[in-house]
Amino acid sequence: MIFTPVRELAALVRSRKVSPVELAEHFLERLERLGPKYNCVVTVMRKHALTQARRAEGEIAAGRYCGPLHGIPYGAKDLLATAGAPTTWGAAPYKAQHFDFDATVIRRLEEAGAVLVAKLAMIELAGGMGYRQPTASFTGPCVNPWDANAWTGGSSSGSGAAVCSGLVPFAIGSETWGSILSPAGYCGLAGLRPTYGRVSRHGAMALCWSLDKLGPLAQTADDCGLVLDAIAGADPRDPTASERPYRYETMDDKRFRFGLIPGVTEGCEEAVTENFTRSLGVLKKIGTIEEVTLPDLPYEQITRTILQVEAVSAFEDLIGSGGIAGLTAPEDRYTPYAREAILAQDYLKAVRLRAVMAREIDRVLRHFDALVAPGRINEAPVLGQEFRSALRATAKDVMGAIGNGAGLPAVCVPNGFGVRGLPTSVQFMGRAWEENTVLAAARAYQSLTDWHTRHPKVD
């Protein structure tokens, strides 16, 4: 049952060929046996999971099938509040933290019948303190199932490792800038960053109120759509959660119009560029590709400034008290102090420019179904090295800056392997609220390729 997409597992559960309790026991055993190997689990939720699984089994037996997540196990990044288990935010100062309520996402997945089997490792405070190395977590670095010497990416590191190694069928991650697409890309998974406001943030650790998004990592883009369908929607406890309705629709047989930023592979590793070029050849079978010129705006400076200022404000108690000295990565123990020297006027300039960016990018994107680009510029970084210094100094992430700054949806899926045998990826980024369009593009790509059917040897 490992590496079986959620949609196929759901068919087995619905037809009662597999029971939710069997599924939960299967994945709990894997989490307990293999979780330490990949260092990707904070808490195995055995008792809680079996209670949920038995309930699901009873409901299905009674003819009350709730939908494709009913009885399906999953893991949650350990920044989502869950009553009855620690919620550590990946950080030593919070390792005994407990909440007495469930995050809205956890509650919605429970309502959909999904079974929470594990809280998953993450970079401390979702990487908002300026970390530069995979070890920046009180649980240590997550190990990439494709290569024991490689990292998974972050900050949803455990979510990436656990899905990649078949410890859970899907996982929830969060992205402020890159934290879903990075582990999905480095682990060869599908990762969906929803539009800002599509999914309630209530009960999720706040890193940057205006940038944080929650979304799924799974084996396929289709699975990401199934999960988003369950977790999307308005929430009175999160005023930024949109009332726009969402239902996952597959949009089969659609022809696409893709936009391509000239020079988007600048700074990419050679294999990433080669694989992306080959991906463009595949995409020409399902649509057109046109070069698109973006307005000249300081995208990365805008998003970076907003992120840095909001992050130190969100953690002003920890920073002001000197509690950051208890963080794991040495750079996280002092870098936040520098953020207090960003002037309010400069922050507000970034916030005003963000509105210009959002309008200008929408003006570009309205002519396309999606912009396409490499998901990551490289294969997964090596464990034990500072990954930022491992990147080329000139490497830019314009897609990440725009997508996160303007709150746009993106999905990445695997598109090949690099010279070290680690996955590379392609991403599709669309207009606000167009998750179904970018998912349809990724689904169409996956229907013509088999990269998502290749898995690491994990047992």
Binding site: H98, P236, R237, T305, G326, E340, A341, L343, L353, V356
Partner: protein, 90 residues
């Protein structure tokens, strides 16, 4: 600051804010690193400052006036403070 760097009074002033607030809890090496980080932040800010905006260019506003509509209010709008356990390192 490296010996080859040009003097930048604004960067020095901003770094001084950091040093005055937190210098007593930082090592010399950390302060040196922070000086570089502050200088980098200022470079970013100068890029932002160089873009002209008009009086009409305002942020996308998340703020909305608030009025509690009792008894329909669904609950607190902010994350409750976490309960801390005995093992909490803080």
């Amino acid at each position: 600051m490296s010996e080859t760097a040009k003097p930048d009074p604004e960067a020095d002033a901003l770094f001084e804010i950091v040093r005055l607030r937190y210098g007593d809890r930082l090592t010399t090496a950390q302060l040196d690193e922070l000086r570089k980080i502050v200088a980098g932040q200022l470079e970013v800010a100068r890029v932002l400052r160089a873009v002209a905006l008009t009086n009409a260019d305002e942020p996308i506003q998340p703020f909305a006036p608030y009025r509690e509509e009792s008894p329909l209010t669904p609950g607190p709008l902010t994350l409750p403070s976490p309960q801390r356990g005995e093992g909490d390192a803080r």
